[in-house]
C-alpha cells in the first residue's frame, strides 16, 4: 500500500477520484471527435446525411443493446461481490466479456461488409453509389470514431479478464473490490461513448 495514505478508506477515495479524473480526460478525447463530426455535418448537410443512411440501423442498434446489457452485467457483478456472491460475480464478468466480444464481432462484420462495397477510410474510399466528398468524410469519421471506440472496448475487455483472474485468485472479495468498481466505471464510460456514437452514426435526424 502507498506510504502516503493513513488508511484504506482514504486510499480508496483517492483511487475513485483518480479514475473520475481519468474518465474526464477520455471524455475530452471523444468530445474532440464529436466536434469535428458536428462541423462537417453542419457544413455538408444533405449529402452527409445520405451517407449516414447507408449504415445499417439494425447493426448499430443491436450493438447498442449489447453494450447496455453488458453494462448491466458489470453493475450486477459489483452488486454480487458486495454481497459476497463471488461465483455469480465471476460469471457476470464472463458475460460482459462475451458481450464485448459480440460487439467487436458485429463491428468486424460491419467493417467487412463496408470494405467489400468499397467503403474504406480516406484516400481508399471508392464507393461509386455515394461519390460525394461528404460521404467520404462521413465514412472516414465513422471508421476513426468507431475504431477508437473499439480500441477502448479492447482495453476494457483486458481489464475485465484481469478482474476475472483476480476473483479466481480470491484477491477480490466483499470487503476488497475497489478495482472491480473502478474497472466497472471504465466499462460504463465505454458504453456511454457508444450511446453517443450510435445516433450520430446510425440514426438519421
Amino acid at each position: 500500500m502507498s506510504e502516503a495514505y493513513a488508511d484504506r478508506a482514504s486510499r480508496e477515495h483517492a483511487l475513485y477520484l483518480g479514475m473520475w479524473v481519468f474518465l474526464g480526460s477520455e471524455t475530452l478525447l471523444f468530445a474532440g471527435l464529436f466536434g469535428l463530426y458536428s462541423a462537417y455535418r453542419a457544413g455538408y448537410g444533405q449529402p452527409f446525411d445520405e451517407a449516414l443512411r447507408h449504415n445499417e440501423q439494425w447493426l448499430g442498434s443491436v450493438n447498442t443493446l449489447v453494450l447496455i446489457v453488458s453494462s448491466f452485467f458489470v453493475a450486477w457483478a459489483v452488486h454480487l461481490t458486495r454481497n459476497d456472491r463471488l461465483r455469480g460475480a465471476l460469471w457476470s464478468l464472463v458475460a460482459v466479456v462475451a458481450l464485448g466480444l459480440t460487439f467487436l464481432g458485429l463491428k468486424a462484420f460491419e467493417y467487412t461488409h463496408h470494405l467489400r462495397e468499397g467503403i474504406a477510410p480516406g484516400a481508399l474510399y471508392h464507393y461509386d453509389l455515394l461519390p460525394d466528398p461528404a460521404a467520404r468524410i462521413f465514412f472516414t469519421l465513422y471508421y476513426f470514431m468507431t475504431g477508437l471506440h473499439a480500441l477502448h472496448v479492447v482495453a476494457g475487455l483486458t481489464v475485465m479478464v484481469w478482474l476475472i483472474r483476480r476473483i479466481r485468485r480470491r484477491r477480490i472479495d466483499a470487503h476488497h473490490h475497489t478495482e472491480l468498481e473502478l474497472g466497472g466505471l471504465y466499462w460504463h464510460l465505454v458504453d456511454i461513448v457508444w450511446i453517443f456514437l450510435w445516433p450520430l452514426l446510425y440514426l438519421t435526424g
Partner: protein, 541 residues
C-alpha cells in the same frame, strides 16, 4: 530524535533511483530530463539564429533551417516547457507543502517519468532519422503531405501528452486527498494552487492534442484525409482542434511559473500576499477562460467576423486574471522586510518581461492589429516574452529559490546576480528587436528575408549569444555549488512556507510523523526570533 537520512542518501545505488517511488527523486529525474531538453532546444535556437545573421544562406540549406525551427519548437514546447516546473518542482514540493509523505499514486508518478522519457526518445529519434519541417503547429494540409517523419514525431509527442495527463491526475488527487489535518483549501501555499490549476488544464486539454496529432499522423501515413480538401476535408478544422489544446497549453506553461513567483515574493518580502484569494481564484479563472480563447490564433484563417469578435473579447478577459496577479505581487512587497537575493532579481525580470509580453498579448488580441502582426516576428516576440521572460525566468527563480532546500547547500549569490542580469539582458536584446521586425513586416519561419531586415536580425542573434552565455554560467556555478557550496540550514530565507520546516535536504518520507501546523505558510506577522526553524517554534508553542 535521531536525524533521518536525507532523500539523496536514504537508498543507494542506481536501481534505487531508477525504481524509486519517492516524489523528490522523481522530481530530480524529471529535472535532468527537462534540463537536457532545454539544452537541445537551446542549441536548435542558436543554430537558427546563426543562420539568420545573413539574408540568404549562412550555414544551412532552407530544408535544414525549416527543420531547425520545427524541432526547436517541438522540443521546447513539449519536452521542456510543459513539464519544466510541474514535473520537477511540482513533484518535489507539492506533497511537502500539503504535509503529505508522497503523492497519491507514487508508482504512477514513476510511470509518468518513464512515459516522458519514452516520448522524448521517440521524438528525438524521429528528428535524427530525418525530422520534420512542418513547424511545431503541424498545420494541414502541409503536414499531411510533407516529406518527413510526421507520423513518428506525432507518436512521440502523443506519448509525451500521456505523461502530462498522468502527472495531472496525480497532482489533482494528491491535492484533494492528502492535505494534512487542519489544512483547508485556503491554507495551502499558492504554489499548490498553481500546480492544481495547471493539472486541470493538462487533464482536459491534452487529449485533444493527442487526437489532432493522431489524425495528422494517420493522415500522413495512411491517407485518412480528414483535413485534405481533395478528399473533402477542411484544413481550417485542424486549426480549431489543434489550438483548442494549444492555447490552454500556454497556461500550462505559465501558471506554475506564477506559482513560483507567488512564493518568492512572499518569502523575500516577508509579507503575506496582499490577497491570497485573488491569486488562488485568478489561477482557476485562467484555467477556465483559457479554454475559450483559441480562435484568436485564427483571425485571418477564414473565420467569421462574429467568431473573431467573440474570441477577441474572451482573450481580453483572460488577460485580466494575470493583471490581478501582477498587482497583488507588487503590492505584496509594500511594507515588507525585503532581502534582495537572486530569486527576487528573477522576479524583477519576470515582472517587466511578463507584463510587457502579456500586454503585447492584449495587443494581438485586438483583431485589426493582429491582421498585420499574425505570423510575423511580432508574434514570435510576444510568445517568447511570455515563455522565456515568464516561464523560463520562473524556472530559474525556482531553481535559485529551492536550491538550498533540495541540495542542502548554497550557491554564490554574486554569480547568481550576474547571470540573472545576463539572462535578462540577453533575452531582452534577442526578442525586443523581433517586435520591430514584426512591425516591419517580416513573417516568421523565414529562411531568407529582404535585406532591410538584416540589422535587427543581427542584433537579435547577438542577444541570443548573451542569453546562452548567461545560461551556461548558471549551469556552471550551480554545478559547483552542488559539490562545494556552503551547507545551509532548513530555512536560509526565513520563509514561513511549509517546505522550509523540514530539513534541507528533506528526508525520504518528508516527515517523521504527519505534521500539524499551527502557524500558517504566510504568517509573517508571527515574530521571528532569529531561529531558522519555524518547526521548533511550533513544537514550543
Amino acid at each position: 530524535m535521531t536525524a533521518l537520512p536525507d532523500f539523496w542518501r536514504a537508498d543507494r545505488g542506481l536501481r534505487s533511483w531508477l525504481l524509486t517511488t519517492d516524489h523528490k527523486r522523481i522530481g530530480v529525474l524529471f529535472f535532468i530530463g527537462v534540463s537536457l531538453s532545454l539544452l537541445i532546444g537551446g542549441v536548435f535556437a542558436l543554430l537558427l539564429r546563426l543562420e539568420l545573421l545573413t539574408p540568404d544562406r549562412t550555414l544551412f540549406s532552407a530544408a535544414t533551417y525549416n527543420k531547425l525551427f520545427t524541432h526547436h519548437g517541438i522540443v521546447m514546447v513539449w519536452l521542456f516547457m510543459i513539464p519544466a516546473i510541474p514535473a520537477t518542482f511540482g513533484n518535489f514540493f507539492l506533497p511537502i507543502m500539503i504535509g503529505a509523505k508522497d503523492v497519491a499514486f507514487p508508482k504512477l508518478n514513476l510511470a509518468s517519468f518513464y512515459v516522458y522519457a519514452l516520448g522524448a526518445i521517440v521524438t528525438l529519434v524521429a528528428m535524427i532519422a530525418g525530422g520534420v519541417d512542418t513547424g511545431w503547429t503541424f498545420y494541414a494540409p502541409y503536414s499531411t503531405v510533407s516529406l518527413g517523419r510526421v507520423g513518428l514525431v506525432a507518436t512521440g509527442v502523443f506519448i509525451l501528452g500521456v505523461s502530462s495527463i498522468l502527472s495531472g491526475i496525480n497532482f489533482i488527487v494528491t491535492t484533494h486527498t492528502l492535505r494534512a489535518r487542519g489544512l483547508g483549501w485556503f491554507d495551502i501555499p499558492l504554489f499548490v494552487w498553481a500546480i492544481y490549476a495547471t493539472s486541470i488544464i493538462q487533464v482536459l486539454a491534452t487529449p485533444v492534442l493527442g487526437l489532432s496529432l493522431a489524425l495528422v499522423g494517420v493522415d500522413h501515413v495512411w491517407g485518412l484525409g480528414l483535413f485534405d480538401p481533395e478528399l473533402g476535408g477542411d484544413p481550417v478544422l485542424f486549426q480549431h482542434l489543434f489550438w483548442f489544446y494549444s492555447h490552454p497549453a500556454v497556461y500550462i506553461m505559465i501558471l506554475p511559473a506564477m506559482g513560483v513567483i507567488s512564493e518568492v515574493v512572499s518569502t523575500f518580502s516577508h509579507n503575506p500576499p496582499l490577497s491570497y484569494r485573488a491569486i488562488a481564484y485568478s489561477s482557476l479563472g485562467i484555467a477556465f477562460v483559457g479554454f475559450l480563447t483559441w480562435g484568436h490564433h485564427m483571425f485571418v484563417a477564414g473565420m467569421s467576423t462574429f467568431d473573431a469578435g467573440l474570441f477577441g473579447i474572451l482573450s481580453m478577459f483572460v488577460a485580466i486574471f494575470s493583471a490581478i496577479k501582477v498587482f497583488t505581487w507588487t503590492a505584496t512587497l509594500y511594507g515588507g522586510r525585503i532581502v534582495f537575493n537572486t530569486p527576487l532579481l528573477y522576479f524583477l525580470g519576470f515582472a517587466f518581461l511578463f507584463v510587457f509580453g502579456g500586454m503585447s498579448g492584449v495587443a494581438v488580441a485586438t483583431s485589426s492589429l493582429d491582421v498585420h502582426w499574425h505570423d510575423t516576428y511580432f508574434i514570435v516576440a510576444h510568445f517568447h516574452f511570455i515563455m522565456v521572460g515568464g516561464t523560463l525566468t520562473g524556472f530559474l527563480a525556482a531553481i535559485h529559490y529551492w536550491f538550498p532546500k533540495i541540495t542542502g547547500r548554497g550557491y554564490s549569490e554574486r554569480w547568481g546576480l550576474v547571470s540573472a542580469m545576463m539572462v535578462t539582458l540577453g533575452f531582452f536584446f534577442t526578442f525586443m528587436p523581433q517586435f520591430l521586425l514584426g512591425n516591419a513586416g517580416m513573417p516568421r519561419r523565414y529562411y531568407s528575408y529582404p535585406d532591410r531586415f538584416q540589422w535587427l536580425n543581427v542584433l537579435s542573434t547577438a542577444g541570443a549569444s548573451v542569453l546562452a552565455l548567461g545560461m551556461i554560467l548558471t549551469v556552471g556555478y550551480l554545478a559547483a555549488a552542488i559539490f562545494r557550496g556552503d551547507r545551509t540550514g532548513a530555512n536560509p530565507w526565513r520563509s514561513r512556507c511549509f517546505e522550509w520546516r523540514v530539513p534541507s535536504p528533506p528526508p525520504k518520507h518528508n516527515f517523521a510523523e504527519p505534521p500539524v501546523w499551527q502557524i500558517g505558510c504566510y504568517a509573517y506577522d508571527v515574530e521571528d526570533h532569529g531561529s531558522d526553524d519555524v518547526g521548533a517554534k511550533e513544537a514550543a508553542s
